[in-house]
Structure formats: C-alpha cells, structure tokens
C-alpha cells in the first residue's frame, strides 16, 4: 500500500515540475514576435491601479501600528528618538515589500487563478486558440509581465504611505516635525536597505504572476476546479513569497549589504 507521504511527494514534484515548465514556456513566448502590448497595459492597470487602494490602506495602518507598538520598548531604553529610524528600516527592508506581496498574492493571484480557470472550463481559452491568437502570449505573458513590473511600484508606494503612517504614529504621543522625521528616516536608510528590497519585489511579482496563471491555465474539473485554482494560487504564491524573501535575505547577507 502506498504511504500518504508518497502521494504528497508525487504531487509536490508534479507541481514543481509543472511550474518550472510553465516558467520556461513564459520565457520562450516572451521573446517571440507579435506581443500583446494593449493587453499588457490593460493588465498593468488592473494589477497596479486597482490594487493601489488596498495596498495603500494596509500600508498606512501597518506604519501607524508598528510605530505605536514599538514606542513603549524604545521609551523603556530611553531611545525614543530612534523611533523614526527603526520604523523606516523595518518597513522599507522587510515589512512593506512582504506585506504588499502577500496582499497581491491574495488579490491578484486568486483573481488570475479564478479568471483563467473560468476561461479554461468555459472553453474561452480554446476559442482563443481557434481564432489564431496564442492564448499563452495573450493571457499569461501579459499578466506575468504586469505583476513583475507593478509589484515594485506598489511596494514603493506602500513604503511612502507606511512611513507617513509612521510619522502620524510618532506624533500621537510625541512631537516630531515633518522635516525632522524625514531627515531621520533618510539618514537611517542606506543603499543596502533600499535596493535589495526593491529587487526582491520583482521576484515576488514574477512568482505571483506565474503561480496565478499556472493554476488558472491548467484548471480542470469545472467550477469546483476554478475554486481550487484560485485557492491554491494564493497558498502557493504566498509560500513562494516567503521562500524568495528567505533566499533574498541570505544573498543580501552574503554580499554584506545588511
């Protein structure tokens, strides 16, 4: 009798292999002529602009809460003047990119999984194929490119909004001027804090796009399959965000950028 672990291993290997092949096909199609520029712009609008309110609200609350929660500990050590510096480094290096990516994994990853899954089970992808449009290039390449390029932009906006939340948080119990707060923030941040954080968001965006499209594009089993695609797109994309983050931190550390 097969052990349950055999099934888990086999599913894991199948999924990993499937995603690897899907990624390889993405790069193969990316450099072929007749790219779908209009659809790419439409996806940038959906991924970027439509996610902006959710990302901004979350970032603002995140900055505000982190500042309020950190204050008592710093006050205990008499280091409350370090609050803007500590908050800015935490947000820009780690919290803001990861939280933005997780929000996008939930919103965009599930959306792509459900949309492409529904197109697969209602034969819309086959109809595209029959009409002479390469559905992989039209649906997948445009979406993966859009998430890869939009996530860093969203993450930077999230940085700015969360730091603004931090400024308000500092001023709830204290008195720090606008210019002093930003001077402290920029003095605390270095090249090694900002650039690696931006670079990893490209990978977060790429992973979210690839997983969302892979799950949707290969959806089966009717409407039940669409639900499963959306759900597993979020789970796998979120997990990949953490794995990429772990690898990025190790690489940054090895390069001495911490």
């Amino acid at each position: 009798m097969k052990s349950p672990f055999t099934n888990i291993h086999s599913t894991f290997l199948k999924e990993t292999g499937g995603i690897a092949l899907f990624t390889a096909r993405f790069f193969k199609e990316l450099f072929k002529p007749r790219q779908e520029f209009e659809e790419f712009l439409r996806q940038c609008f959906w991924v970027g602009y439509k996610s902006l309110p959710l990302v901004a609200i979350t970032a603002f609350i995140m900055g505000l809460v982190l500042t309020i929660q950190s204050r008592p500990t710093l006050v205990e050590f008499g280091a409350q003047s370090l609050l803007p510096a500590m908050v800015s480094v935490s947000l820009v290096r780690e919290i803001s990119p990861v939280i933005t990516a997780l929000i996008c994994a939930g919103k965009i990853g599930s959306g792509m999984g459900a949309e492409l899954g529904s197109m697969r089970v209602t034969e819309q992808i086959d109809a595209m194929d029959v009409s002479g449009t390469n559905p992989f290039r039209y649906l997948v390449v445009t979406r993966v490119l859009a998430t890869t390029l939009m996530l860093p932009i969203l993450s930077n906006i999230s940085n700015a909004v969360s730091l603004y939340g931090g400024f308000l948080g500092v001023n709830i119990r204290g008195q720090v001027s606008w210019s002093l707060f930003w001077t402290q923030v920029f003095n605390a941040l270095s090249f090694g804090d900002v650039v690696p954080a931006i670079i990893k968001t490209f990978f977060f965006g790429f992973a979210i796009g690839v997983v969302g499209c892979y799950k949707g594009f290969n959806s089966t089993k009717g409407t039940e399959g669409v639900g499963q695609s959306a759900n597993s797109a979020v789970v796998v994309a979120s997990l990949l965000v953490f794995i990429i983050d772990l690898v990025a931190v190790q690489i940054t550390d090895l390069l001495g950028l911490t």
Partner: protein
C-alpha cells in the same frame, strides 16, 4: 458528381488512459455538405472535432483539412488554416470580459491587416450580427444575453472570418425547443448563404433532421452507420432505432 472532400479523417484513434474514445474512425466531409455526427454523450463526438482542428492531438490516423495534413502544420500554418475553419463551442465560449463588438472583433486582430481592420471591422461586425438577427446587442456584455442569444453571437463570431468549414459542437444543447429549432434553421441559412461545409455534432434528432444532408453514427468509437437522416430513421437496426424512439 460528388463534390471534393474538404475534410478527410482516416483511421483516427484517440484514447484517454484506458478509455479508447475513437477506434480507427474514418469519415469525410464534402464541399457544401452538412454532415451530422450522432452519438450518445461521451461517445467521442466532441473529441473528434477537436482533433480535426488540433485542439486535441490524435494518437493515430490522418486528418486532412482543405488538402492540408494538420499534423504536419507549423503553428503559423495551423493558425492560417484555422481562419478557414469556424468552431462553434458547446458552451459558446464568448469572452465574458468583452462586449459583443469586442468578441466579434477578436478573430480579426490576428487574420486581418491593420488597414483591413480600420476600414472593414464595423461593416463585418454588423453583417455578422445581422446574419444572426442581433445587431442591437452590439454593445452588450455576454452576461446580459439569454442562452439562445449567446449561441447566436457565438455563431456570428464564427462567421466573421467567412470560414469555408464550420464545426458545430452540440449547437442546441441547453436551449428550449423553440430556440433550438431557430438555431437549427440558422445553421441551414448560413450554409446556404456562405456555401460553407459543416460538421454538426449533436444528439438532438430534431436539429439533425433539419440541418443534415448526411448522418454518421458514432458508436463505441467507430462509424456504425453512414446514411441520410431519412434512411436511418427507417432503419430496423435496434442500436439506430433507439436514437429515434
């Protein structure tokens, strides 16, 4: 004299695991003909027409469409051939994020030049919509249409490239008898107006009676009978009779 064949399927075999859906199936469609393929649900009818347009790869056998062996075509050649072969999906497969206009415009973007699209898109869309009697729905979304209207719009999208061959996958499934009859007559009108050849996959005997010149019965993955609708209707064979009872 019999017209030239536009589709020739020879010894087609297709299986999914242990399930042998098509076994050495052969059929041909002649120019200007409406051929109905009749069979029970799950008998491999849809698989057959998806193999014809290479949406599904066959395991064995030869398929020639408009004198081109589809297995040897490159992707570009296949795309060009597909412009001459319309496919009406069972589920209509209308792009639900696009309006009716955008749905009909979609096939043109690949097969028409920019110049052709600039000058002829609006006329082509309106003509296709007029053919199915739904010109007023041009700016509506598919979700705003009834099942019968969606089927007609899907047919208009199929017609917009003026295909030489049209493959209909269960064109009347899920429709009420009146709408189903309207769609069946529409298929006949289209065939007469454009002189298109058609394969109609169905188990709706009324639709087959109205639309077909010839009927092929697909049973156990093989061609069980090949004759006119009337001849099959009068057959004493039990397996044929059960379709008409």
């Amino acid at each position: 004299m019999e017209n030239a064949p536009v589709i020739v399927v020879k010894n087609l075999h297709k299986s999914f695991g242990e399930n042998h859906v098509l076994r050495n199936f052969s059929v041909s469609l002649h120019s200007g003909e409406n051929l109905a393929i009749l069979g029970k649900s799950g008998s491999g009818k849809s698989v057959l027409i998806k193999c014809i347009i290479r949406l599904i790869e066959s395991d064995q056998g030869d398929i020639t469409v408009l004198n081109q062996n589809i297995d040897t075509l490159s992707n570009d050649e296949l795309d060009n051939l597909r412009a001459k072969v319309g496919f009406l999906f069972q589920s209509n497969a209308l792009y639900d994020s696009m309006t009716v206009r955008e749905n009909l415009e979609f096939p043109l973007r690949r097969h028409w030049s920019d110049e052709q699209r600039r000058k002829g898109t609006e006329t082509a869309i309106l003509e296709a919509l007029n053919d199915v009697g739904l010109a007023h729905t041009i700016d509506m979304m598919p979700s705003e249409l009834s099942g019968g209207m969606r089927k007609r719009i899907a047919l208009a999208r199929t017609l917009i490239l003026r295909p030489a061959i049209i493959l209909y996958d269960e064109p009347t499934t899920g429709l009420d008898p009146i709408t189903a009859r309207e769609i069946s007559h529409l298929i006949v009108n289209v065939q007469q107006k454009y002189n298109a050849s058609s394969i109609i996959i169905s188990h709706d005997m009324h639709c087959i009676g109205i639309t077909s010149n010839r009927v092929v019965m697909l049973i156990d993955g093989m061609c069980y009978a090949d004759n006119t609708y009337e001849a099959l209707r009068q057959s004493e064979d039990d397996r044929i009779k059960e379709f008409f009872d």
